[in-house]
Structure formats: C-alpha cells, structure tokens
C-alpha cells in the first residue's frame, strides 16, 4: 500500500507551456500526466480520419500521444518527463 502523504510538504512544481499557456505541474511527472491533469485530452488528430486522438497505451506503443516539444515533432508524451520551461504544442488548437 502507498505511504500516506507527508503533511505540510506540498510537491515542488515546475511550469511548462502548453500551446502557449503556462501550466504548473509536479516536478518530474510524465508529459502525458501533465496534459491529462490539465484536462487536455486531444493531443493530435488522426491524419486519415481527422478525428481527435489522445494517449491510449501509456507505454510508448500506440503513438497516439505524440506532440511537439521545443520544436521537435513526434515526441511521445507518455515517455517524456516534464522539464521546466518545456514548450509543448498539441494539435488541439486546430479544432
């Protein structure tokens, strides 16, 4: 069983930028967790059907969580820990 929270020690956070918006997240969590925690579920659009898609497998297999990080496209958010100042672009804006 998970240990109980240590009272009085809130987690350290870092700020990342999601589609230009600053988002505060717990240091070191996966980028997929950061986005889902921020209620962002559309990470990209399927190139064939143009339907919205979000993370599915959480282990690097399905590639549905690919986003652009610091200008580099095709980064799997589920395998990428957040870094302070990281700039993330989803395709959500396209909607």
């Amino acid at each position: 069983m998970r240990a109980k929270a240590v009272i009085g020690t809130p987690p350290r956070t870092v700020t990342i930028h999601v589609d230009g918006r600053p988002v505060s997240v717990v240091e070191g969590v996966s980028l997929a967790a950061a986005l889902v925690g921020d209620r962002t579920w559309t990470f990209r659009y399927n190139p064939v059907s143009e339907e919205p898609r979000g993370p599915f497998c959480g282990m690097g297999v399905c590639l549905e969580c690919e986003v652009t990080v610091d200008g580099r496209p095709g980064v799997r958010a589920c395998l990428t820990p957040v870094r302070p100042g990281m700039r993330v672009e989803t395709e959500e804006e396209r909607a």
């Binding site: 070191g28 969590v29 064939v48 339907e51 919205p52 979000g54 993370p55 599915f56 549905e64 909607a95």
Partner: protein, 466 residues
C-alpha cells in the same frame, strides 16, 4: 561510428532484464541495459517521479531497490534509448539515443526482455480521447499521482483490472464499475488449487475486498459494445458477453479503460531471426525457447513477458535462469542450490499461472466472442482508420488471409505496426466460428518504432560499420 561491445546487452529494464543484469554484473561480466523509458523498471516497476515518491510514497519500493542494486553492480544503463532495428550482420543493435543520435550496440550474448503490451479489442468509439488501456490509468495513478478521470469504467478481462481499480479509488476517483468478460469471481473447484499459493491468492482477494467495501459494481460476463462522446468520451454502453448485440446498460463516464490481458512483445526477437510459433491458446507469436530462455539462436535469449505472459515473479525467475545459463557457458560455477531453487520457483509459479489462466476466458475464446459485437462501421485499425467492414470484405474475397487483408486495407500497417489492432484484425479475418484461430503472426519489420529522420541522416553520412 563506434560499435559498443559488451559481454551482454539486455534490451528492456523491467523485472526480467534487471534480474538478469544484476546477476551477470555481480559475476563480473560487462553488461548494458537499454530501455526506452527515462528510468529503469519497465511497466511493473515503473518508477514514480522522485517528487511524487517523496510526497505520496512509492507504490513498489522493491522496484527502486532492484534498480539501485543494478546500478551499484556497475551495469551500464542506457535509458531513453530506442532500439529500432538490427544491422546487416544480424547482431548489431541499431539504437537511437535521447538526443536522437545513432548508437550501435553489440553483445556476445543478447537478452531480449522487451516485455508485453496490452491486448485491446476494438468497439465503436474506442479511438475517442479518454478511452485508454488499464495500464495507462495505472501508470498515471502510481507513477504520476494523476487520476485518469473523475468517473471511470474499467473493462476487458483478467486479474489486472482489480489493482487498477484500487489505484483509482486511492486517488478519490469514482469507479463506476468493472466489466469482466468472463465469470472468474465465484467459488469454483478450479479456484481451489490457488490455496497452495496463499500469498498470491491473498493479493487478489485483498483487491476484491477493497472494491466490495467501496461498493464498486463488478459486472461479469459483460463487455463494452460502444463508447460515445465528442472530443472526449462521455458514456460507455455494455452488453452481456454472450449476447453482445443486446445492450444492457449505458454509464456516464469521462474515462474508460479497456484491456484483455497482455501480449508478448516479440518484434525484436523475430527480427533477430529467433524461431517463433503461434501459441494455440493465445494466437500470439511466442519464441521457441529452452528452459533457460535460450532461443533458436545460440547467442540470443528471450526472457520475461516477451517469452510468454507470466507476471513479474515469473519474469524475474526467467531473468535469473538466463543469467545462470550464460554464466555456465562462461565457465562460472553456480552457487550451491541456486539452479535447483530457481527451477523449483519456476515450477511453483507456472502452476499458479495455469490456475489463474483457467479463471479467465482464453484469448482464443475472446477471438471467437468479440468480433460478433463489432459492427462493420467501427474503426478496427486506429492508426490507418480502417473499418471492420473493409477488413471483412477483403477477408471474404481473399480467403481469410491476414496478410492480404493488411495489404489491401492498410489495417495494421500504421506506426504502431498492428500492436493495438493485430489481435482483432486476425480475429475478424476469421469469418466463420468453425475456422479456429488463424496463425496470423504479423511479420516484424524495420524499424520497430518510427526513427527520427535526424538519426537516419547521421547514419547515412557515416556509412555502415565495418
């Protein structure tokens, strides 16, 4: 480009790979572990971010201890490294480092510990955001302390759904229900054998008790027949597994996690030329191995879930068995009783696994059951957005040949290489229930994962190594 030469290269830093690495390095061999994730541990021992562990605790501290022991033993740990292929010599692993630079690794022995991935089965709406595998919900909860949603249904089959539901309850999530395709949760004579394994039985019983206390409904003989929503799932519709065309209830949710157990991840083993056969019970490609995990290729071992689904304790035993076999071949004397103890542990665990398997519907049974619930209009291959009807059409005209169906429709040909839809494509291709489960092993092709263009360009500039 230099090729990094080691005694042993291990692909995959989960329970199996770590157990093997630790034992081999302790005996003085030079060992490299390569893993795609940012930290070792694999799926089972997935490491929480240090800040998450500090504030909310570590869900599997034994995983942290094993990773620490592996590092202390002097194992070279290449995390964030993607193994995407095999060189022309059939031995050199083509790897991409975290900065997208190409790396080449060669071991006198290669250990493939690439683990497993979940076995989804499509239904209308399975491609909606908010529909995920149970594994994703578990990682979010345990490693990132992030709830996947506020109101969640878990579905599919197998024991894994229970601990995931408990992890969600720990985070305050409303688990609206668990839909299990089989009928495993009743006293039956088959379950009696598990009494010989009280620890494992207690674990499952503990989860079940927790769910009962929280009044989480457990719907047996129940499958998901559709998910609805716009840019995120809003409801899930369920039906009896034995009558999937008659929906019995619709539940409002903001996340749905569906998985029918796990499939071995064998693409790298197949690319290395290891012989595989189709497991008649699961339809999955399974490497042909001896007791130590040695494949048809003398220098390649396959261990852990990649060798066949067994769970983390089995994976660790397989890792140690491979390590001892290699050490024997290198002239090391085994420790007194080590080989015998390992064999006994392996037998005990295999027995438990047979009992658990018997509780849940076999994948071959699911492959017979689930396609009838899948309408033609549903998306079957999520990468290429191919419908079930398109695949059925080709299957009818092309004599149920999986490869013909793939070539004509592109089902299973997208970036995930059929890992998500492969089981379903194979099941749907089989038109009449009398056909049995086809031996539809999807061929493994290069690259195992899409490779950054920059890596390929850099490699092209340098030419093939001598």
């Amino acid at each position: 480009m230099t090729v990094h030469e080691r005694d042993v290269v291990i692909v995959g830093g989960g329970p199996a790979g770590l157990a093997a690495a630790h034992r081999l390095a302790a005996a003085g061999l030079s060992v490299t572990v390569v893993d795609e994730q940012a930290e070792l541990g694999g799926q089972y021992f997935r490491r929480p971010a240090p800040e998450v562990a500090r504030v909310w605790g570590d869900h599997r501290p034994e995983g942290g201890r094993l990773v620490g022991a592996v590092r202390a033993a002097g194992v070279e740990c290449r995390t964030g490294h993607l193994v995407w292929g095999v060189g022309d010599d059939g031995r050199t692993l083509l790897v991409c480092d975290p900065a997208e630079r190409p790396v080449r690794l060669r071991g006198r022995y290669l250990i493939i510990a690439t683990g497993a991935h979940e076995r989804p089965f499509p239904f209308p709406g399975w491609q909606l955001p908010g529909v995920t595998t149970p594994g994703f919900a578990q990682h979010l909860a345990a490693a990132d302390h992030t709830p996947i949603g506020e109101r969640v249904v878990l579905a599919g089959s197998g024991p894994f759904l229970l601990p995931v539901a408990c992890s969600l309850l720990d985070l305050g999530v409303t688990v609206a229900g668990i839909a299990e395709a089989g009928r495993p949760y009743r006293p039956s004579t088959r379950a009696l054998g598990t009494v010989r394994h009280p620890a494992r039985l207690r674990e499952l019983a503990g989860y079940a008790a927790r769910l009962a206390r929280a009044r989480v409904p457990l719907w047996q003989n129940t499958v998901v027949v559709r998910a609805d929503g716009g840019d995120r799932i809003t409801s899930v519709t369920l039906a009896a597994a034995t009558a999937p065309t008659r929906p019995v209830r619709t539940v409002q949710v903001d996340a749905l996690c569906v998985g029918y157990g796990f499939r071995p991840q064998t693409d790298l083993a197949r690319m290395l030329g290891c012989a595989v056969r189709t497991d008649p019970a699961t339809g999955d490609a399974t490497p042909e191995l001896d007791d130590s995990g040695r494949s048809s290729r003398d220098d390649v071992y396959v261990i852990g879930e990649a060798a066949g689904i067994g769970g983390a304790p089995v994976a660790e035993v397989r890792g140690l068995a491979a390590a001892l076999d290699i050490l024997g071949r290198e002239g090391h004397e085994p420790r007194a009783g080590e080989v015998r103890g390992l064999a006994a542990a392996g037998r005990r665990l295999a027995h438990f696994k047979r009992l658990t398997d018997a509780l849940y519907p076999a994948p071959a049974e699911l492959a017979r059951l689930l396609p009838s619930a899948l309408p033609d209009a549903a998306t079957l291959c999520r990468c290429e957005a191919v419908s079930a009807g398109e695949v059925r059409g080709i299957a009818r005209t092309a004599g149920r040949d999986v490869n013909a169906a793939k070539a004509w429709t592109r089902a299973g040909m997208g970036p995930c290489q059929g890992r998500e839809c492969g089981f379903a494509v194979t099941a749907v291709t089989r038109v009449s229930p009398a056909d049995g489960l086809p031996a539809g092993v999807f061929p493994s092709r290069l690259p195992v994962r899409p490779v950054p263009v920059a890596t390929l360009l850099e490699m092209a500039g340098e030419g093939e190594p001598a």
